[in-house]
Symmetry: C2
Subunit: 206 residues, 2 copies
């Protein structure tokens, strides 16, 4: 089961489930229901049951879900049982905040290399990282077999850096640059641009 | 036309169109087509035409879209012709990066107040802002009639701060805290959690 037959919109909800369940577990809870999870997430319990059923049988009617078990299963399905190595490109204010953020490693991602093209930044320290020269990006990413990149460069540089990430073998890019980037079909891209989210909300405001 | 009858998924694509068209305009382009826009965004031209047709008639068959006109119309539809006042709560590494980010005001959002509850930060300067005591958040937001908030506090504080934002009359919250928050139906929430996006990609990786 599973595999590419599962709609991407369903795949996109699994991390939300995992996040909420992990928080429940951290607070000492052992059992939950699709109702309770749904209330926390603003998603219907029917939707949650339907989504999870695409991957197997995780709960029994009437007894609810064992949280620890479901967390393990979701981590397996999302392939974050071990942490992925991640390269961060761009250490402006945002890149620096990303490098300092402590919330990645527990959830499946470990920044292992940090790059910038600014001579004033190259060689400097950010937390436990030494900023590397972006000129060596392809070789470094290849030699460490890094599969995931976070792109925190200005919009004008995003496509050129993307082309080099692809050359280096990167297969998933989280793009913080406020622009669309073009990648081959085999490479996954997700975008974070706060303004897109803000505009989606203010549309509804009078 | 328009109004609440337009599906939210369509509303969510309009900011993408606006962003791409604004970049085209900045590069001196005057006319585009749904094909060209679609290639840039990885969205089908049919989808783009259908989405835009929900709001009016913006292009003529065969002559394409006038970019400046379409930008104006999208800014009007998304209600970002003038900038919304925004409160930022939490000035850790991420909040600081948000406060310094220069890309909001041109796209419809102006941070006008910055809050934190850390005595070591209150009264300090971040760019052109003085960090205010979060204890005064409700009164300050009310007196300045601020409608939009960005929440960059730790997950454990997110719901308590959210409750006070709602008390203050905030109608749209961009939540950077990696947790779900509960709000009344009348309040809009969007989330930014990079791990959700990363997990949505690594699901597909071998």
């Amino acid at each position: 089961m599973a595999g590419s037959a599962v709609p991407d919109i369903v795949v996109g909800r699994l991390p939300l489930y995992l996040r909420a369940l992990t928080q429940m577990a951290a607070s000492g809870k052992e059992i939950t229901s699709s109702q309770e999870l749904g209330e926390r997430l603003g998603i219907s319990s029917a939707q949650i049951r339907k989504d999870l059923s695409q991957f197997g049988e995780f709960g029994k009617q009437g007894t609810g879900y064992n949280i620890a078990f479901l967390v393990d299963q979701l981590r397996r399905i999302l392939k974050v049982e071990q942490a992925w190595d991640v390269a961060l490109i761009g250490v402006g204010d945002l890149g620096r905040a990303i490098a300092h953020y402590g919330g990645f490693v527990d959830r499946g991602y470990r920044i292992v290399a940090v790059f910038d093209n600014d001579p004033a930044k190259i060689g400097g320290r950010i937390g436990s990282f030494t900023v590397q020269d972006a000129a060596h990006l392809v070789a470094e990413i290849r030699s460490h077999n890094i599969g995931v990149a976070m792109l925190a460069v200005p919009a004008r540089d995003a496509q050129a850096v993307t082309d080099r990430l692809i050359e280096a073998g990167i297969r998933a890019i989280l793009c913080y640059a406020p622009t669309s980037i073009i990648v081959p079909r085999s490479v996954h891209v997700q975008y974070i641009d706060p303004v897109l989210h803000l505009q989606r909300m203010t549309y509804y405001l009078g």
